[in-house]
């Protein structure tokens, strides 16, 4: 079956014959890990870590470009100012509220969408496409489009309501309705991100587990709660982490839909940061606000990560 020449074909190089560079193909686990993580680390340092350090430094300074006063070290002054700033509290509260509403909202809708999209449709692409389109619509335009949908006169929402015999509301005349419209839009826009990640997770669950559960007597709901959900947990946590972070950074949609109006009732912390830095050029205060927002996001992320680790 084998001749001598064939067996030598695949002979491993002897120790002395090993080319020097092949050693680099097989670094130790530690070295390999360092090498693999290096590109990510370099990029993150360049794009995030360095600017963030600058930002934190700025937050301890009195640096308002419109004040006409040169920059000076201010210690915690910017942070102290924040505590007395009602707009800070209002926008923070709005941000937290948006997070608390849209994150679970997007999770539920996204989970539903993913489960539905995972059904054995004969033609799959329209389903997948409609799952992704909301997300592929540029954020800056999604807000505008939905502002238009919720327009009291020219909007589809009120038009549909009217056709159903319901008198629509002037969405943006009321803090509550405007808030609702914003949350609905955010949920619509972000649930597809959720769905996408959850769908990917769904596809890794072996079918035989459902078969076993089916034989074990578990009904649809039981299977969902005992198999699907626990096995989706890693995917869900990933989706939740990023959705929460982006929810805390909510900017474009309220900015384009209401400009934070009526009044400041739908303004978010990110909008306030943007306003302070870009419009008011108060870089010191704006940076301090950004640091607070960062702390907020970090806190939330830490909680999630603890959640994974606790079960891991």
């Amino acid at each position: 079956m084998a001749t001598a020449s064939e067996t030598t074909l695949v002979r491993a190089p002897s120790e002395s014959g090993t080319k020097w560079w092949t050693r680099f193909l097989d670094p130790s686990e530690r070295t390999l890990a360092v090498l693999l993580l290096m590109p990510a680390a370099l990029l993150l340092t360049l794009i995030i870590v360095y600017p963030v350090c600058r930002l934190i430094w700025t937050s301890f300074q009195n640096l308002s470009l419109t004040s006409g006063v040169p920059a000076s070290f201010a210690g915690l002054e910017n942070y102290a100012l924040m505590l007395e700033d009602p707009v800070f509290w209002e926008t923070t509260w709005n941000t937290v509220l948006i997070t608390l509403i849209t994150v679970p909202g997007a999770l539920l809708v996204g989970l539903g969408l993913a489960l539905m999209a995972n059904l054995p449709f004969n033609v799959k692409w329209p389903v997948r496409l409609s799952l992704l389109i909301p997300w592929a619509l540029p954020l800056s335009f999604a807000g505008l489009i939905f502002a238009w949908f919720f327009h009291s006169e020219y909007g589809v929402v009120n038009d549909v309501l009217r056709r159903l015999g319901i008198e629509g509301v002037i969405w943006f005349n009321s803090a509550n309705w405007a808030f609702a419209a914003i949350c609905l839009t955010i949920i619509w826009k972000t649930s597809s991100f959720m769905a996408l990640i959850i769908l990917a997770g769904l596809q890794t669950i072996p079918r035989s587990l459902y078969e076993a559960a089916e034989v074990d007597g578990a009904g649809r709901f039981r299977q969902f709660f005992e198999i699907t959900l626990p096995l989706l947990k890693p995917s869900i946590v990933v989706a939740l982490i990023f959705r929460t972070i982006t929810a805390l950074q909510t900017f474009d949609i309220p900015y384009t839909m209401t400009r934070g109006g009526p009044g400041t009732s739908t303004a978010t912390l990110a909008m306030y940061i943007h306003q302070n830095t870009v419009d008011f050029l108060d870089l010191g205060y704006g940076s301090a606000l950004a640091v607070v927002m960062f702390a907020l996001s970090m806190g939330v992320t830490a909680v999630y990560l603890r959640m994974i680790r606790a079960k891991g």
């Binding site: 390999l32 693999l36 360095y50 997948r128 409609s130 996408l196 990917a200 596809q203």
Partner: protein, 283 residues
């Protein structure tokens, strides 16, 4: 995975129900896009008609003509496409490496590294605009694709890494072992076996990265002031005037911008058949 089992049928049974669900999904996802499509075929006057019209009364392609003639729309598309594709490729490459290290190698402080990667993404890029601008200027990257590709890569890196980590963890180690015995290096096994088997995850991550890059506005506006390098979201705002917002023309441009993404998704989705990983091993 592809065939129906009775179990599957009972889970959400019946063709009619399935068609209904499909319909709901499609309406939910497609409606705004369709609305834009309809709008792009209307005249501006039709938008202020009361009650509002759904389908265009007198469809016109004038808006598309304007979209292509008023601004170099194809150029915007090209720029967006290149920036998005390149940053997606870079994101995937970097996050595949990082995710593999995190998923497979015995690293001390693995959780810490993972947390750190996520933590950096909690900083909104908007607040880093000015320092980033300075970095890009210092590196002489302003008005190049690279000025956008690097931050976009960072934008998607954490989420892609995390997705890939969870996918890699689901690939049986023996498959990789088998490849290593078959003559691959670890990295070879990674790209020849682990990555292809994580295709749904890689696809998901890729789509996320692509869309993130495709959508971004603020950095694109700030870093690339050269009209030849404008990306689509920035380009589309050029149809605006100081006060005027010509929805039909902008809609036409948006439609032109959505189509490539849609085509891309459809093409890829055909390739990424579900359940690739099943059947390779005994368990």
């Amino acid at each position: 995975m592809s065939h129906d089992t009775p179990a599957n049928q009972s889970i959400l049974s019946g063709k009619p129900l399935r068609i209904l669900i499909g319909f709901i999904l499609v309406v939910n996802g497609m409606f705004p896009a369709l609305w834009i499509l309809f709008t792009s075929l209307k005249t501006e006057a039709e938008l202020t008609v009361k009650p509002i019209t759904w389908l265009p009364h007198a469809p016109t392609i004038a808006n598309y003509l304007r979209a292509f003639t008023d601004q170099p729309l194809l150029l915007f598309l090209f720029n967006s496409f290149m920036v998005a594709i390149l940053s997606t490729a870079l994101t995937l490459f970097i996050s595949v490496l990082a995710a593999y290290a995190l998923a497979r190698l015995q690293i001390r402080g693995r959780d810490l590294i993972l947390s750190a990667i996520i933590a950096v993404s909690t900083f909104p890029l908007v607040t880093l605009l000015v320092p980033l601008f300075e970095i890009m200027r210092a590196l002489g990257l302003l008005n190049t694709w690279v000025a956008l590709i690097l931050p976009y890569t960072v934008l998607s890196l954490p989420v892609c890494t995390l997705i890939l980590v969870s996918f890699f963890e689901g690939i049986p180690r023996d498959l990789e072992n088998s490849a290593m015995i078959d003559g691959c290096t670890r990295i070879g096994a990674l790209f020849k076996v682990v990555v292809p088997l994580s295709a749904p995850g890689v696809f998901t991550a890729g789509i996320l990265a692509f869309v993130n890059a495709w959508d971004e506005f603020l950095l694109a506006l700030s870093f690339n002031s050269n009209p030849m390098l404008r990306t689509l979201p920035v380009g589309i705002t050029l149809y605006q005037g100081e006060f005027a917002f010509p929805w039909p023309v902008i809609s036409a441009a948006l439609v032109v911008g959505i189509v490539p993404v849609a085509v891309l998704i459809v093409i890829f989705q055909e390739r990424v058949v579900s359940g690739l990983t099943s059947g390779g091993i005994k368990g």
